[in-house]
Amino acid sequence: MNLLYATLGLIALYIYVSFASLLWEGIDRKLVARMQRRVGPPLLQPFYDFLKLMSKESIIPKHANKFYELAPVLALAVSIALLAYTPMGFAPLFATKGDVIVFIYLLTLIGFIRVLGAISSGSPYAQIGAQREMIILVSREVPMMLALFTILWRLNNIGVEKPFSLATFYQRNIWELGTPLALIGTFILLVVFLAWLASEIEVGFFDIPEAETEVAEGPMAEYSGRHLALFELSNAIKMFVSASLVVAIFFPWGISAYIGLNGTLALVVDVLFHTLKVFAVLFVSMSIFRAITGRLRITQAVQVFWLRLFPAAIIGSLILAIDLLGVIA
């Protein structure tokens, strides 16, 4: 019975997140347009795009292999599976011990499937885009994982039920530590996470794999019609999920407890409030970042990860460790 509810919940979540993430894309385009003193497309433009793409003919290149058609389906399937392990204002549906590993694994898998699909298309642009995506992929995960595990380890030390699970964030949160040192460390890690988020959704500095003026949308160069629509949707869901992780770590508070709700209604209110927080995080990490920066070269982006963000993550982690172990206290 419990499994049935969880499955129904996942389907409901999938429909809701598809809607919310496409809506955010519309809001983002409108906001950035306003920052650039343009009118911008209608708010529902991503929905129109999606529906139109679904109804269009999908052209498959002559040299593409079978995986070319399979990749978009797999990408969407993985992103739906990812939703089951995503904190959405409450603990993930299939929460279990150590589910954070599954979360990161699935998140990386989406990028990996994009790369496979791109290579299968046989286009030189897609291959260059795929190369770039792989380089970014291996660079961006390191600082993020270091930061994530430091926080989980720190929370583990103040006592939680299931260590190293995403549900941890809703029991204790990192700001509760309260010491000045911990606040500084947490703040540094927040910056690392925001930069990671920007690179995960490939905007601003990190719009490198899909750089339209250089490699003509990179991995997506050959995709069209339904296949492109599936990729667009899985990308939108991935964007929402990545932002959800940042929200769960740093801003996990719900409002249902304050206004005294419980049961299903509480869940709905929490999801809506969570969505608002996701939009706020995306506004900083996506819209503003996109409006005020341009794209870097691939070597410069790798340098940003290894020479800026990785040391920042180490420093943040060390500060949190010092805070716990009381070396200087």
């Binding site: 003026t213 341009g294 870097l296 691939i298």
Partner: protein
């Protein structure tokens, strides 16, 4: 060739590519992200202007020259008019020379603002694109006010200019300069001289060293960005420019160093906008009263030119660099016996293709955009499709027929017969 060749990837940039505004083709050989070789193929925009010009008279060629390119439309007919004047020994009234300077510099401002936006777009910095093109609207409005058109302002005539600059225009231009000085240029400088993203992307990319720039005859801001102090307005002592204090702008005056990269070319453009505004102010100040054309009526020009014989060269510093027109007249002929032009993009394109070897793929679009390529200028020479080739070339008529056929296949119920618009309607 060594064993490494199997790892090399050849990728075509163009003929249609998001980074290019106009069709051209760069075949780039890559080893990973590093460029091994760049090959340029032109001719996707051939309209056969020289061939068409053989069938036009002197005045008609003036309008043809204007339509070589939309951005530097004034430069082309200005240079053509100068070549014809030199050939026939026509003296231009001084006021007309000043008006040519003013319109030419206004055009330089709008062309450089356009290019600043395009370069920002190629590095993914779209906010700068939108804001700099918004600022460009002001000078476009002025040009429309003077010439009647945003793009082809048709200012020139052989032996003078067609339209006078009145007090109303003078006031509008001074207002515009005020606006640019106080609101636009500080922001432009902030972005292109000091912004870290722009500096990270444009510094050390697409470097054209001074030696290569001289060897490959780079022109205009591309050459000046490499530290070559060359400006046709200055070297040629063109028109009344020497009285207005024109000087080649090099990045040394702004940043103190010359590296010859994309950043330096953009610095030159920013400097030239400042310089152009000063020149316009001085020109408005010093402009004498008087007539604006040497011939009151156009047919007098034709009569005079029909008797003329000889050859003339006109040179002018277009926004992108040195522009040359050559004309040769034969006695008793209505039009030029030979008209030939060379645009700055032509040498710049080969200079930048040479400079790209050894750079990263990510630098290709920005390096190409930084010379401000004007390919409709460059591809201008011959005409005509070949019947004997293997491919079948479709004309508009054929395309329209095919399109109607396809529509009827999809929906046989459509009864309407589409008509082609324009003059000379005909049956399909």
């Amino acid at each position: 060739m060594n064993g490494k060749i199997e790892y090399w990837v050849k990728i075509p940039i163009g003929p249609i590519h998001p980074a290019l505004e106009e069709p051209e083709k760069f075949i780039i050989t890559l080893d990973g992200e590093r460029i091994i070789n760049v090959d340029v193929k032109l001719g996707y925009n051939l309209r056969g202007l020289e061939w068409i010009a053989m069938r036009r008279n002197w005045i008609q060629v003036l309008y043809l020259a204007e339509r070589i390119c939309g951005i530097c439309s004034f430069s082309h007919n200005h240079t053509y008019a100068r070549a014809v004047e030199e050939m026939a020994g026509i003296e231009v009234p001084e006021r007309a020379e000043y008006i040519r300077v003013i319109i030419g510099e206004l055009e330089r401002i709008h062309s450089h603002l356009l290019n600043l936006g395009v370069v920002a777009h190629t590095i993914g910095y779209d906010t700068v694109l939108h804001l700099s093109w918004l600022a460009r609207e002001r000078v476009m409005d002025i040009l429309e006010d003077i010439g009647g058109n945003r793009v082809n302002y048709a200012g020139n005539m052989i032996g003078g200019v067609r339209r006078d600059i009145k007090d109303r225009h003078k006031k509008a231009i001074l207002d515009m300069i005020q606006y640019y000085r106080q609101e636009v240029m500080p922001k432009v400088e902030e972005i292109f001289l000091y912004d870290p993203t722009v500096e990270a992307r444009l510094r050390d990319s697409g470097v054209i060293p001074k030696r290569i720039a001289i060897e490959y005859s780079a022109q205009g801001p591309t050459a000046r960005g490499s530290g070559i102090k060359k400006d046709v307005r200055y070297n040629e002592k063109l028109g009344v420019y020497p009285d207005l204090g024109v000087k080649p702008v090099t990045p040394k005056e702004f940043t103190g160093v010359i590296k010859g990269d994309v950043f330096d070319r953009m610095v030159v453009r920013v400097g030239e906008i400042w310089n152009s505004m000063e020149i316009i102010e001085r020109a408005l100040d010093q402009m004498p009263e008087g007539k604006i054309k040497a011939f009151p009526k156009d047919n007098l020009i034709l009569v005079k030119l029909k008797k003329a014989e000889g050859e003339g060269i006109g040179r002018y510093e277009a926004p992108r660099g040195e522009l040359i027109h050559y004309v040769r007249a034969e006695k008793g002929k209505d039009g030029p016996a030979k008209w030939k032009m060379r645009e700055p993009t032509f040498p710049n394109l080969f200079a930048v293709a040479r400079a790209l070897v050894g750079e990263q793929l990510a630098d290709v679009p920005v390096a190409i955009a930084s010379i401000d390529p004007c390919l409709s200028c460059t591809d201008r020479v011959a005409v005509i499709d070949a019947n004997t080739g293997k491919r079948k070339i479709l004309t508009e008529v054929d395309l329209l027929k095919e399109s109607i056929k396809k529509t009827k296949e999809i929906n046989p119920n459509i009864k309407a017969r589409p008509e082609r618009i324009g003059i000379g309607r005909c049956m399909l």
